[in-house]
Symmetry: C2
Subunit: 332 residues, 2 copies
DNA sequence: ATGATACATGACATCGTTGTCTGGCGCCGG
DNA sequence: CCGGCGCCAGACAACGATGTCATGTATCAT
């Protein structure tokens, strides 16, 4: 900046005014300065600017996702990015891998970079450890899962209702012998989906104690095994609900390997690419990651802009998409 | 920092030494300072530090991808992140959407944030406009596509050889009436794949002029239409090669809608989730995004660390994964 | 003509940190 | 007993920008 000022023969403050489009510079000087910036390939240093600038905003936020390679997270990321880029805010993205230690480390790394806000999927059992930052006015929005031990904004899918819709749908198609394949019980969304599913079954007058529930499945392989075991038991279910993407894949493989894919109904939580191209098409409870991302962006921006209303949880509705697998009638 | 220093009753430089783990502080003072940082919830401000620190490193890099919601990009992103997080480097990620204007704007935004390096998928017709930055010693690594108009490191998939492997595979299974469904010709990878595919056909002694080539397909819908048109023409191909994910999906839909999915062979460039669960399984030329990401990370780190060897293009081999669709024999 | 007013501009302190340099103190060897 | 050395610690400038304030000049109303 100094160099530009010298070249243009003006003070550095004037250069600052020009590059920041502040008023109070004559058109002539402005042109001279612009020519100088051009000539020297000058580029404003935002990091230095944010040191003194009012509010000390760095125009960047931190985003913590289960993994940036997870398509669901990718959609959220994209929607967030679109909304924030418009405001000139850049996004630091990181993957958590369900590791509470990593969660803390990454948050710390973002804090050190003085991000203007944090959008995150909580992993650790409690997020109480960020209370100091939060109350120190660091905007935070939790996504996908509600935080524990701290009052903050959250944007989540309607997990319970979504799962209950799946149950209702299967029951409406005549099923009574349902089964549930679920994720680790320490994941909040997993337990909510289970609750929603079982409660709906209860409401339909079916004894939930008769429903086989397999928890703790965390990948395709374990889901596959659990599903096979279930389907080859002596009183196998006529319909399966899988609480998550990978588990759905495992269930699909199990059904196919036993030749039951056209006989046993299946509804999975989470939509996925090519679900409609399967044989049969897979009925799913679709989440709306773009809506989650967009809402999270709106909330974090509002907080950055000073909104200090009481924290609130925003719920994004899920949607049942019938494609065939969920409409198969019970087979006996 | 000042506050911490006061509370601990030491000078700010001593606090700096402690939080940066520099030597020359007695154990007693160190403890006192650490207690103070704890009490005040002090967190080092890296942005301020990088202002004066030698080399002015911000410990962050910019990553430009077609879209963060694209699974292929996601894998690259993840691999990069893993390698960089180890070194304490954070990643700004942004989506380009095939928009050259956006490419320039985003690069400019990253430059303003003084990233230590840039990893990017080039979109614009030429990247000559970043020559000033590059020669000013801003490390840059191009991924997926080689840059035009600038000498810089690049990490790309072996597009030509990959496509030629697909052609050879189909020919080996007896096909002579092949067809090519390709992306926009202004995308470098697309033309390379076409070249590789056609050259291999030529080498096999088949007149490439007889091969229907459809370019300019950019999504599932256009690919679907092109494929249907091709398959319902009077001398339809017995095998199709699709140059990219979405085009493969379009081709799959076309084949299925015409009831030809077990009759006409298909090989797609790019692997995708559930390819093995299709009917038949889809044979693909798989890229290795994790390897691309890892290599890109190694290169950018080396450059950041001062490696000033001549720029080089690194080629990551692709892999043909047979799953059924590519092994169907010609049907007449 | 004169004081008031508006506008263009630059000097300077400052943001939070680190690099450099200097100072005080204890210890050692001669 | 003294010079020299090593260790700990702080004072101070500097990084690249911006906020504040002062200054100079042209313009305007009276």
């Amino acid at each position: 900046m100094k160099n530009v000022a010298d070249l243009a023969g003006v003070g550095i403050k004037t250069v600052s005014r020009v590059v920041n489009n502040e008023p109070g510079v004559s058109e002539e000087t402005r042109q001279r300065v612009l020519r100088a910036t051009e000539q020297l390939q000058y580029h404003l240093d935002m990091t230095a600017g944010s040191l003194k600038r009012s509010g000390r905003k760095t125009q960047s936020i931190g985003l913590l996702l289960p993994s940036v390679s997870n398509p669901f997270s990718g959609e959220i990321h994209r929607a967030l990015e679109d909304a924030l880029t418009e405001r000139g805010i850049a996004v630091f993205a990181s993957s958590l891998d369900d590791d509470p230690e990593r969660e803390k480390k990454l948050i710390s790394a973002f804090l050190g970079r003085r991000v203007d806000g944090l959008v995150l999927t909580p992993i650790a059992r409690s997020q109480a450890y960020v209370i100091p930052e939060h109350s120190r006015n660091l905007p935070m929005v939790f996504i996908d899962r509600e935080p524990v031990g701290i009052e903050a904004d959250a944007v989540v899918t309607d997990n319970e209702t979504g799962a209950s819709k799946a149950a209702a749908h299967l029951i409406r198609h005549g099923h009574t012998r349902l089964a549930y394949l679920g994720d680790r019980t320490d994941i909040q969304t997993a337990t909510k989906r289970r609750t929603g599913f079982l409660e709906e079954i209860g409401r339909a007058g079916i004894a939930t104690s008769t429903i086989p529930v397999r928890n703790g499945l965390h990948d395709e392989e374990t889901a596959l095994r659990a599903a096979i075991e279930l389907l080859t038991s002596e009183n196998p279910p006529t319909a399966i609900f899988s609480s998550q993407n990978l588990i759905t894949f495992g269930a699909m493989r199990a059904l196919r390997s036993l030749g039951l894919h056209h006989k046993v109904a299946l509804i999975g939580f989470d939509d996925f690419t090519l679900a409609d191209m399967m044989e049969p098409g897979i009925t799913v409870i679709a989440q709306h990651p773009e809506r989650i991302g967009k809402l999270a962006a709106e909330r974090i921006l509002a907080r950055i802009d000073g909104d200090d209303g009481a924290p609130k949880t925003y719920i994004v509705p899920s949607e049942l998409i019938p494609r065939g697998s969920g409409e198969l009638p019970p087979l006996n």
